[in-house]
Each structure stands twice: as structure tokens, then as C-alpha cells.
């Protein structure tokens, strides 16, 4: 992975000192709360409900074992012994003291980590596919260009105070695993006539107004990515709405102008800077790409013992089936360590688990690991002959729940337990559903299904693109949950449809149970949940879920009686 040079390192060290000074001035009353807020947010620091929430960047999902050990140290020393992986390649700590944050950043800087622009109305962490560089279906490794974009977004002087947050995602694979259709800018790496470049998608986003992004340019040579992004950002910075935070994302501007007019303005802006000094050079690409060369893979790996274990141990076979991913090198797999153990908040990991994962990375995966937007940890380069050993170690540490892509592998935001923005709790809903579906045979029988939960319409839990999406809503100061069906990520990404009136927390396991039953009863052959849903539509689900439930006048009468 990318190693900092002297300047990269100096910049994050200077960032620590800058932030330390800002905290000092805030404490001394020289910076007002309002003046300090954007500064601390651009260092990932929220001040909220119980304690600050501190968000550390894991740029384009890549980490080494030393970095994870440092996060374990921070969790142990400054927090309550755990951290939380978010849906955008970040780790969040929920309990540090504001005064400790400069020291935490100093510790992180030692291992080339930071919290730069992990929040606030600025360009955020660049995200990509957790299997970048190893995926069997990869066309082009997105990581060198992701790193180049990381540097370009870092302290950009013109775009530090945008109308609203701005998120960029890159995908280099046939199957999009980076939710690129729902980012402010989504980039698809592709080849055209022997040239490498991007399809540029702008104006996607989840949140209060979920919108699928639109293509503004079918092909952009990779050398032009910085100047083109500069043009997009400049059009947005100047024209994006600043009168209403809910209408300030670039998606609203693209909708207001229309994608043709927006693209026209970007092209006009771009003409002025195209081929200027910010045009990328082959030398720079090569310099960065040299950090992402393949590790020393072995050839002719003996898979016989692995094959034998697959036959003899069903539990292992299940884990391999769900928690490993095809690798471009024969004899290797990418392993997903599930942070979706039933009953534990999705995405949470303890300091002891972090240390253990770091050890596993050192022992089995060239000392590197990734995190996914599904909030799991990935060992990207494991020999098949060592999968059994990894499985056993993972199992001992609560990291081997074979539920990746299954109903209980829930994507879930921290929700009302931790987050000030939330309308409702999300973790207890995830726990209740996991408790209801605690039978592995049944989970495997149900098969591929994404259940995503957000505690409010900011949609950190990506509920819109869950096959089953759950959104916490506030109704007269009570927590309720709205359910959507049929959403999906990937190349055919689309938003789920609302099934009907919302439910109480207590009803949610039953609601999910009924939805699953409708699928199981109606599926034919090898149909997955989504296939059945697409074939039979939302009505059978709706009918079952609301069967016998009073609504409309009957409900009003019921309320009256109560």
C-alpha cells in the first residue's frame, strides 16, 4: 500500500499541531463554538449526546497491521475498548475526550493515519471496492488514482467550504462494489481503444432526497481527472445552494439545472484548465502505482487439505461459501472477517479483536487489510491452504459469523444510541432481527439478502439500497420504522420502495419474518430474494405485512378506543 513520503508525513504532523492550536484557542475562548465547529468537523470531531464522536479516515479502505494496532491502542487508551467501522471507510470512536483528540491524532500520525476532512462541508475520504487489486473481476486497480485524488482533496484551497459535504467513490471492477451511483462523484475506471479513463457520474446520493447519479461524461482520460474534478467542484462551489442545508448537495444542483446543462457548464469550465499543470503525468502515476504492486504470491499452492476440510466440515464450508471472495491469483482467496456477530452492534470491533486481526494480517495476508462499506474487515490475500487456520482463529475471536451477504449481515449506523442526528435507535433493531433469525440453516436457506438500517434519513446505514431497508423515523416523539423493499447497490443500483405505514420497534422482527416468508413461499428454483421481488412485485409483501392490521379509519377508531 501507499507509503508516505517526507512531505505527506510532514503535512499530517503539521495538521496535528494546527488542530492542537485550534483546540487551545477554543478552550481559551478565542474561537467561538461556531468558529470552532467547522474546524473540528474537518478533523472528524463531533460533539454530541454522550461524548464526542471522533472519525478516523481509512482512505480507500486500505490499512496495514501497524495502523490497526494503533487503532486498538487508541480504543484501549482513550475510548472504552472498541471502535466502529462506518459505511464510508472510516473508524469512529464514541467516547474520547475533546482535549485528548490532538494526542490521538499525534499517535495516529506516527502510522500515517489522520482524520482530515472526515466530516464537514468539504471533500471527504475517497472510497472504493474493498477487493481493489485482488478482485477476479477487476479491470483496473483503482488505488493509485484514489491516492492521487486523496492528495488532491487534502487541504484544497478553493473547496474547503463547500455548500455541503462532497463524497467521491471509484470502482475498477465489472460489478460495482463502491456504491458509485450514489456518490456526489462516482467514477468507473474503464478501457476504451486501449486508453484508460473514467466514466464520470455526478449528483448521486442517499440521505433525505435519494437520487441516482447521472453520467456527465462517458469517457475521461485518467490524466484529466484532477482538472475535470476541479471543474465539477467549481461549478458546484459557485452555484450549489447555501440557503438550505437539505438542498445543498450537488445532486440538487444537477436536478435543478438538468444533467445536460450541468455537463455543459462543467465542460465550459474545464476547457479553461484542461491540459494545464494539474494534468496528471505518467511519472506521477507510476510513482504512486509502484506502491500498489502485487505482493510475493506463491504459485502451485497445495489445495488438497483445503478441499478435504470443505468436504468434512460443514461449518467451515459455510464460512468459505459466505465469507471468502474469488481472487485473481489461483490458490488465493480474499477473506471477510464478519463484524456482524449476532448481538454485537454491526461494525463494532474491540481492541483485542483489532490486535488479533492485525496478527492474522501479518501471519496470513502480507500485513495488510481492508475494510468494506458493509462494515467488515477483509484479509485480501490468503492462501487457500491457510483458510482453515484463519477460520479457526477468526472463530475464536468472534469474527467468523458466516453471514456475509445474508439477512443478519446487516449494515447499520450507530443510530440513536450514539448519534445526535438520529431519529431512532438502529442497533437494537439489528440485534432483535439477528436474534429472531439465529438459525444458520434457515439463514443459508434464505440466501443472498441485504438488510440495511439507518436511524435517520441521513442514511448512513444505506437503507435506500438495501433489499430490505429500514429507516428510523420520529412520530410524535416516538421511534418508528419505515420499511422499503427492492433497493439494491451495484451496477443496477436503485432505491427501494416504501411498503407502507411505519412500524414500532417491537413489530420489526415480525415484519421482517413476514417479508421473508412471502419470499420463501413464492420463490421458484434458485431465485434470490431480489429475483422473486422483481417478479412478483411489492403487493404480496405489503398484503402479508399489513394483514389484519388496522389502518385508515379503522386505525383511527382503534386509537380513539385506546
Amino acid at each position: 500500500m501507499y507509503k508516505y513520503d517526507a512531505i505527506d508525513r510532514q503535512l499530517i504532523t503539521e495538521r496535528v499541531e494546527q488542530f492542537r492550536d485550534q483546540v487551545r484557542r477554543w478552550k481559551a475562548g478565542k474561537l467561538s463554538d461556531d468558529e470552532f465547529r467547522p474546524l473540528r468537523l474537518q478533523n472528524g470531531l463531533y460533539i454530541q449526546r454522550h461524548a464526542p464522536m471522533f472519525r478516523i479516515a481509512v482512505p480507500y479502505a486500505m490499512m496495514n497491521s501497524a495502523q490497526l494496532r494503533k487503532l486498538a491502542f487508541v480504543a484501549r487508551t482513550y475510548d472504552k475498548g472498541y471502535g466502529h467501522f462506518t459505511t464510508r471507510h472510516n473508524m469512529q470512536f464514541n467516547w474520547p475526550k475533546v482535549e485528548d483528540c490532538p494526542d490521538i491524532l499525534a499517535h495516529l500520525a506516527e502510522v500515517e493515519m489522520h482524520a482530515i476532512q472526515t466530516s464537514g462541508n468539504c471533500m471527504r475520504n475517497i472510497t472504493t471496492d474493498q477487493f481493489a487489486g485482488v478482485a477476479a473481476d477487476e479491470v483496473i486497480d483503482p488505488r493509485p488514482l484514489a491516492e492521487i485524488l486523496r492528495q488532491w482533496t487534502t487541504f484544497h484551497p478553493e473547496f474547503a467550504f463547500l455548500p455541503r459535504k462532497f463524497k467521491i467513490a471509484i470502482s475498477g471492477t465489472k460489478e460495482d462494489r463502491a456504491v458509485t451511483w450514489f456518490h456526489d462523484i462516482g467514477l468507473h475506471l474503464q478501457q476504451q481503444d486501449g486508453q484508460i479513463g473514467f466514466r464520470v457520474i455526478v449528483g448521486g446520493g442517499l440521505g433525505r432526497t435519494p437520487i441516482r447519479g447521472q453520467v456527465v461524461r462517458e469517457f475521461l482520460p485518467w490524466q484529466d481527472i484532477l482538472t475535470y474534478c476541479e471543474a465539477v467542484l467549481r461549478v458546484y462551489n459557485r452555484q450549489g445552494r447555501r440557503d438550505n442545508a437539505y438542498k445543498a448537495r450537488i445532486k440538487i444542483l444537477v436536478q435543478a439545472l438538468g444533467v445536460e446543462e450541468f455537463a455543459k457548464q462543467v465542460e465550459a469550465e474545464w476547457l479553461h484548465i484542461k491540459d494545464g499543470p494539474a494534468t496528471l503525468t505518467q511519472a506521477e502515476f507510476d510513482r504512486v502505482a509502484a506502491h500498489f504492486t502485487a505482493p510475493a504470491y506463491e504459485s502451485a499452492i497445495d489445495e488438497s487439505a483445503f478441499a478435504e476440510k470443505l468436504q468434512s466440515e460443514k461449518a467451515f464450508a459455510r464460512w468459505v461459501d459466505r465469507n471468502t471472495h474469488p481472487h485473481k491469483i489461483a490458490g488465493y482467496s480474499a477473506v471477510t472477517l464478519s463484524l456482524k456477530q449476532h448481538g454485537v452492534a454491526p461494525g463494532d470491533i474491540t481492541d483485542a479483536q483489532m490486535d488479533k486481526v492485525a496478527d492474522l494480517a501479518d501471519q496470513y495476508s502480507f500485513g495488510e487489510l481492508r475494510i468494506s462499506h458493509e462494515q467488515n474487515v477483509i484479509l485480501a490475500d490468503v492462501k487457500k491452504s491457510e483458510l482453515y487456520a484463519v477460520w479457526q482463529a477468526a472463530k475464536e475471536n468472534g469474527l467468523a459469523t458466516p453471514n456475509v451477504g445474508l439477512l443478519t449481515g446487516i449494515i447499520c449506523c450507530p443510530g440513536g444510541d450514539f448519534c445526535d442526528l438520529a431519529n431512532a435507535k438502529s442497533i437494537p433493531i439489528a440485534a432483535a432481527i439477528q436474534a429472531r433469525f439465529d438459525d444458520l440453516d434457515y439463514l443459508f436457506d434464505i440466501g443472498d439478502i441485504d438488510l440495511n438500517i439507518s436511524g435517520c434519513m441521513n442514511a448512513c446505514g444505506h437503507h435506500h439500497v438495501g433489499h430490505i431497508g429500514v429507516l428510523g423515523v420520529d412520530k410524535n416523539d416516538s421511534e418508528f420504522y419505515q420499511v422499503t423493499l427492492g433497493g439494491r447497490q451495484g451496477n443496477t443500483a436503485k432505491l427501494g420502495k416504501v411498503i407502507g405505514p411505519s412500524f414500532s420497534a417491537g413489530e420489526m422482527p415480525d415484519v421482517v419474518d413476514k417479508i421473508i416468508k412471502v419470499y420463501v413461499e413464492n420463490r421458484v428454483d434458485e431465485e434470490r430474494f431480489l429475483d422473486t421481488f422483481d417478479r412478483i412485485g411489492i403487493d404480496p409483501f405489503k398484503n402479508r405485512v399489513y394483514e389484519g392490521r388496522a389502518h385508515g379509519k379503522a386505525k383511527a377508531a382503534e386509537k380513539e378506543a385506546a
Binding site: I7, R15, D21, L39
Partner: protein, 170 residues
């Protein structure tokens, strides 16, 4: 009275900014003598009059004012002030970048309004060269620490037209 930071020192500001009081319009407001910074709206409708009576002219741009609309007039201005009504409104950074980089404005470019210590670094990079620091803020400390929290920058900017990757020692 905002403190004006200019040429690495706290300077005395000789310019007056014309304010349009309630009941006045850009068409009717009296044009004062002396070194005056005129709002864009006044410049638009009184340009000939202003040029005939002033040798030294200043212009005030609000965030929504389009620099394209004054691109042909730049030779008239000694100073262009870009207003930041709130420091989180970042439109002025694009105005400054365009004035300097696209339209090659050479005169004084002044940040006014909610101008704070922690934004000076960005302002300098997009091309501002004077800063009306908000009242009550420590101008001495701003001069000492506000302009160079970082020793290097990755991007192209007005102050550094070559990105770091083109200057990196190979």
C-alpha cells in the same frame, strides 16, 4: 473597525466602502469622494460616472456576484474586496481563483467580512493579498501562525501554479 493585514503587517486602511442605506438604491446613492470601494451593484449602473470622478477605484464583490461580469473592467480597479458574509460561505475562494488565474487581475485582492485566522492559509493560496481580519481577533497571532500552518501544498493554486507532483524531487 476591521484590522487590515497586508504585506505581512497590520496596516492602516485608507479605503472607505460605500454602503447603500435603507431607502437608497444603486441608482440614487450619493457617490462620495476619496478612495472608495463601490459595491458591484453600484458599479454596474454608475460605471461612467465613477470613472469620470475617481482615479482610484475599489470594487466590492458579494459571493453571488459573477466575476465574469466585471472581467472586462479589471483595469479600473486598484482593489477588489471579496466579501465573506459568513466564513463557511466558500464562494469567495472561487471568485478569487478566477480573478487571478483566469482574468489575470493584478491589483489588490482583499478578503472582507467574516475573515478569521484559520481561513487565511486558504485565502492566501487562492490569491488574496490583504485581509480585513474580523474585529476582536488577534492580528499579531494571525500574522505569526495563520498563513503557514502547512509547509507544502499538493494542488495548483494562484500562489503555486505547479502541483506538488510536478515539483517533487525524482
Amino acid at each position: 473597525m476591521a484590522q487590515l493585514i497586508k504585506n505581512q503587517t497590520v496596516a492602516v486602511d485608507a479605503w472607505k466602502t460605500l454602503e447603500i442605506a435603507e431607502g437608497e438604491t444603486p441608482e440614487t446613492v450619493a457617490l462620495p469622494a476619496g478612495d472608495v470601494i463601490f459595491p458591484f451593484s453600484v458599479w454596474q449602473v454608475r460605471k461612467t460616472e465613477i470613472i469620470s470622478m475617481h482615479k482610484r477605484i475599489g470594487l466590492l464583490l458579494q459571493p453571488e456576484d459573477r466575476v465574469e461580469d466585471i472581467a472586462a473592467d479589471l483595469e479600473y480597479f486598484i482593489v477588489i474586496a471579496v466579501n465573506f458574509p459568513k466564513f463557511v460561505d466558500g464562494r469567495g475562494y472561487s471568485s478569487a481563483s478566477l480573478l487571478r488565474q483566469r482574468y489575470k487581475y493584478q491589483g489588490e485582492l482583499r478578503a472582507v467580512g467574516d475573515v478569521l485566522h484559520d481561513q487565511l492559509f486558504f485565502m492566501q493560496r487562492v490569491g488574496f493579498d490583504s485581509y480585513a481580519l474580523k474585529d476582536g481577533k488577534d492580528a499579531v497571532y494571525a500574522l505569526q501562525a495563520g498563513f503557514a500552518p502547512f509547509s507544502e501544498t499538493y494542488q495548483t493554486s494562484t500562489g503555486q501554479p505547479e502541483p506538488y507532483f510536478r515539483r517533487r524531487a525524482t
